[in-house]
Point group: C2
Chain length 686, copies 2
């Protein structure tokens, strides 16, 4: 995650119009994979032409010696501890205005260097025999799509990922501090980029968009309103595996909801008050939410295998940029690096973070109490003198409460990030886990506490249905406004204002590189898939926890998800800087979160079934008997759920066979090599 | 698992007396690790002397060409597809009787071959820097304990494991069948040993005992009645990691029970009828069974790291010996091998095995019903005319039922093994999983069904306590008799009968090698730790499920376990052939089984708490309220249990650091090597 820049900048209109120019005649007919951008080449005076991949922006007032030192370290040979990359200053073609930052650099690499880097980062590619294997330069010609010098072998996103990796692993040698900045201390092994970034010398590092590629992708993704799946391979090709898995999950979730929506629709249309059938619906619900999560694991494994991330080993994790501590010896690497005592972190977590979260939960309960007070007051008003306006008024408290919930979630999100940062976790993964845990617990509580209260304490199914509907619809409308309409509206308004200037500047000729770089530098930075997954998680909660009393929920969520796909696609292609691609083999901690939700859903659905009149009528004399049976049934279902999780293999059989074959082959090769070494006789002699 | 031989053999007395001779003066004072047996050396006529490690016994009527072919294949060089081992026929020193089998062969290997084999099987050994790493011949001198030629580097158990691995992986080349046996078909890649074993040509393969080593081990293990831990390292050294982990678990389980026993004892002595305190005991119980299982995982990881099995990769699994099918192409290895269609196996499982198991469960219920009938009849008899004899009679049905349960378990065990074999699983691990599942479900049902019925249907706590006590005590007594007293008694009886012959034959001189081999060949074969773990599993059930109504259970189980340690040690050292050592990193599927039991224990203990009078008195007016609270508490406890499982790391931090360091070092080494290769300049040139 790099720095976040505000959208309100003078470059905004140019950018948007640039991105919205109609496809030119030059648009390639060939859909060639991994073609590096040829129309983006540095035409520098010193003759060193290379396709720029990544942009480094340093602070405008950076000392010259620091700039020279950094560029040298990036250019240095690898055996001298450099990154061996190509880097040039961006020279604007038309003289920029005063406030233009001159310290913008373009980074690229030779083809050979990129292939070596692909081996370094452990890229998996398709082999000629159809399996997916770790790329090595030694047998590069055995990989599918490797032609000639391997010009088109790596996609631009992969090249950018490699550059980022090489920059991130550029380490201090014997420098004690950054030249020109005596206070910015360094020690051997410290990542240079992370240090100068945390000190504000480096403003941002971002990969460049590919105009042609982006046009094609956005056309097949969301511009053509056809009934088809998303172009996941193209999305992965452009944005990387992490992003593609998010969109795959969003699509899968939407499709999985369709049976539920189809069953729910007639329930809504015909049998609004027939509790008997709701019991069937609840039963369906809890089988559904177990099965779809298990099947998703298999689908995600298939995708990850195809994309080469399934068997890829995780890289050795470095301390996150914000981590600070006292210099000490890392017991794993044996290097000097900052250490932060674990007990201090634990103290911060248990003495500050946990009480803070509990306080927030209490506040959320307090707000809920106010809502119920308001609700009661309005209902009394309506009962005393029912008019049209009081009838409308009845819905107002729920809507206000839904808005307040969204606002509280938003504020809490920032507080949680601040606190987790302050806890000073060493690794990005630990940081993320603690952040996700904090946010999930609060959001779950904040969104669903009132529904639990209505369902199980008040036991008022009519109010539950009404609250669920209001919460779901309001939060969907708010989300859609925040994600889709707001950017559209901003874009429209600015387009009009800047129309003349754009026409004058661009005509129908191509935008020069320097302008493209500057436009993109001012775009917002995409902060990762966290908030998108969180939204899906809450929607999943609305559908699975209580939807048996409001079968229309699935229909609403399907509609929401369809627009979500379009608005998310739009924001990725038009609103944000291109993000660095993140290799991912699964949706990580979210799989766990969704599974936890589905366990809770079994409990709530069983309880709702137990409370329904037809079930109650089976045990007219003894409520105890009823509860015992419901509890027994719930335990059996939970047990069945866990057994199902064990029984369904997480990886489909055909992929399991491919993986085993690779493992077997490498074992055989090793054995053969050892036997030859052991006997000392080359094989040809026999 | 090799063939099982009956204990009643003429060799039995000699064997026992041989094993019981007092330590000779030659007993080594040095406790040197891994010393190969020098006192066991073949003194063959052809001058090829080697320490024998493993015995191969072929059927007495094996055709000569088959013997010659097998010996050649074992002796052949590895590059010619052989095992490159040393093998000699056993020549008896005194002329054996008629029935002596001449086809007994001793297998050994040169030191160099064993070290190469250690690398092949992926043995992990301690490095000079204190970490544990995969052994390689290339840097053998950097491993701790490698002196000179590595004479004492490998323990005899390790050498025997290597020999077994090399024999098992001896594969057919172009032979179409075993010479002399046209019906015993072979195909390229088929394991020879497995084929001739399943056809009965090979009677058995077993490793030899080490007399001196065994004497020392048994002395420190069970002969000296001192209060100390078991010599786990020595056990592992002699019997391998799988066995050592079993004994470690047995000891850990016993120690973990002591706090419970200490709390339970005063409950038994003073407050027999105070339900209030039982609630506290039940609460303690369910925390206890979660925590000890989590801690065991950490302890087992520590042991496995020390013994080098934690990060050892599992070998590629071959089809199990009994597996049969139609020749086809294995999709993983690309070799021709028998394939058995999965749907046929599924049909056998679902149409035969599952109904059979259900039938057995029904029979178990039927027996239970008879028991309750008997119980009721006896009680009526006692109530009508209470005499001393009817008072004794009251206990008889429980005792009979306990014996019947044990007998049914035993019979079912054989049936389950037969059925699972018939299901024709391809891999030993799948076979084991299906067998364990079948046996566990039935044993759980058979042992605990009556207790569940008494506790939750009859709700008779006095009867529950009485039944629990009877079941537990009877099954313990039966087990101890079967495991300890029976072998002792057999041994005594035979010792007397054969005393004279033994004294005449042995005197105080050493037993010749040929006699030792024959004695051991007639010992019973140890069939693995399955039954031992099963016994512990059931004991764990008695302690954790209901012990809050019978706190003395823990005391009884502790006493049982202490004798169990001694009787198990005795049977391993004296009664059975030495088993091949099995590398194991954990207790495998049993961890899961114990965890499942602890989840069920949470449910039963919560229910028992809910049924106790003091808790009931909190909700005098509403039983529904009471149940709701108990169910809510149970759900919270289950949730806490799962969270605890996540939060407690499975591997202790110091071992995690050591593992990460190794991974980091190998990554760094790889990077350095690649960089040098990439630059093409040797490092010295710079």
């Amino acid at each position: 995650m790099y720095t976040f820049l505000p959208m309100s900048s003078d470059w905004w209109p140019d950018l948007l119009s640039y991105l919205h120019t109609a496809p030119t005649q030059k648009e390639r007919a060939t859909q060639g994979e991994g073609k590096m951008q040829k129309d983006l080449s540095l035409s520098d005076s010193d003759g060193s032409k290379f396709p720029p991949l990544v942009v480094i922006e340093l602070a405008p007032d950076t000392k010259e010696e620091a700039v020279a030192w950094l560029l040298n370290r990036i250019r240095d040979k690898q055996q001298d501890g450099g990154a061996e990359l190509l880097v040039e200053q961006l020279t604007p073609e038309d003289q920029g205005t005063e406030k233009d930052n001159p310290n913008v650099y373009l980074v690229g690499a030779s083809r050979q260097r990129l292939l070596m880097g692909a081996e370094d980062v452990g890229l998996f590619k398709e082999f000629t025999d159809g399996t997916v294997r770790g790329f090595t330069c030694a047998n590069k010609h055995n990989f599918k799509g490797f032609q000639g010098d391997g010009d088109t072998f790596l996609s631009m996103a992969e090249c950018q990922y490699i550059i980022k990796h090489e920059l991130d692993t550029l380490r201090a040698k014997d420098e004690a501090h950054v030249p020109g900045y005596p206070k910015t201390k360094l020690y051997p092994g410290k990542s240079l980029i992370r240090r100068i970034q945390s000190k504000g010398i480096l403003v941002q590092v971002f990969p460049l968009h590919e105009k042609e590629e982006l046009k094609r992708l956005s056309f097949s993704w969301y511009k053509s309103f056809k009934m088809s799946f998303q172009p996941l391979d193209d999305i992965r090709h452009y944005f990387g595996e992490g992003m593609a898995l998010y969109f795959a999950f969003l699509e899968y979730f939407t499709l999985a909801l369709i049976p539920m929506a189809l069953i729910g629709l007639p329930y809504y249309l015909f049998d609004w008050e027939d509790y008997d059938k709701y019991t069937v619906f609840a039963g369906f619900n809890l089988v559904w939410c177990t099965v779809i999560l298990e099947l998703w694991k298999r689908l995600s494994a298939s995708l990850a295998y195809k994309w080469g991330t399934l068997s890829r080993k995780k890289a050795f994790e470095e301390p996150r940029p914000g981590f600070h501590g006292v210099l000490g010896l890392n017991p794993v690497t044996g290097r000097k690096e900052p250490l932060y005592p674990n007990f201090k972190r634990q103290l911060r977590i248990y003495l500050v973070s946990v009480p803070f979260v509990l306080l927030c939960l209490y506040m959320s309960l307090y707000v809920m109490a106010i809502y119920f007070e308001m609700e009661g007051w309005v209902l009394r008003l309506h009962d005393e003198e029912p008019t049209f306006w009081t009838g409308v008024l009845v819905f107002i408290p729920s809507i206000i409460y839904a808005v307040v919930i969204e606002v509280m979630n938003l504020i809490y999100r920032y507080a949680a990030e601040f606190l987790t940062n302050w806890e000073n976790h060493r690794l990005e993964s630990t940081f993320q886990n603690h952040l996700v845990l904090k946010v999930l617990v609060f959001n779950f509580f904040n969104c669903f506490a009132s529904l639990f209260y209505i369902a199980f304490v008040m036991q008022d199914m009519v109010l539950l249905r009404q609250s669920l509907a209001t919460l779901l619809i309001t939060s969907q409308i708010l989300n859609q406004i925040m994600e889709a309409f707001l950017p559209y509206w901003l874009q429209r308004r600015r387009n009009k204002k800047a129309q003349k200037r754009v026409i004058k500047k661009m005509g129908d000729k191509e935008l020069p590189l320097s302008d493209q770089v500057k436009l993109e530098a001012y775009m917002s930075t995409y902060l990762g898939t966290f908030d998108d997954y969180l939204e899906l998680f809450l929607l999943f909660g609305y559908v699975s926890l209580f939807s048996c009393v409001y079968p229309l929920a699935a229909v609403l969520v399907v509609l929401n998800n369809v627009t979500e796909i379009y608005s998310d696609a739009l924001k990725m292609c038009k609103v944000f800087k291109r993000p660095f691609s993140e290799p991912a083999a699964d949706i990580g901690v979210w799989q766990l979160a969704f599974e936890a939700m589905s366990v809770i859903a079994v409990v709530t659905n069983c309880a709702l079934i137990g409370m329904s009149p037809p079930i109650k009528s089976y045990f007219p004399e003894s409520e105890t008997q009823l509860i015992m049976w419901v509890v027994a049934g719930e335990h059996l279902l939970l047990a069945a759920k866990f057994i199902l999780t064990f029984v369904i293999p997480d990886i489909p059989k055909d992929i399991q066979i491919k993986l085993s074959r690779l493992e077997f082959e490498s074992l055989e090769a090793l054995k053969k090599r050892k036997m030859l070494e052991g006997s000392g006789i080359p094989k040809t002699n026999q």
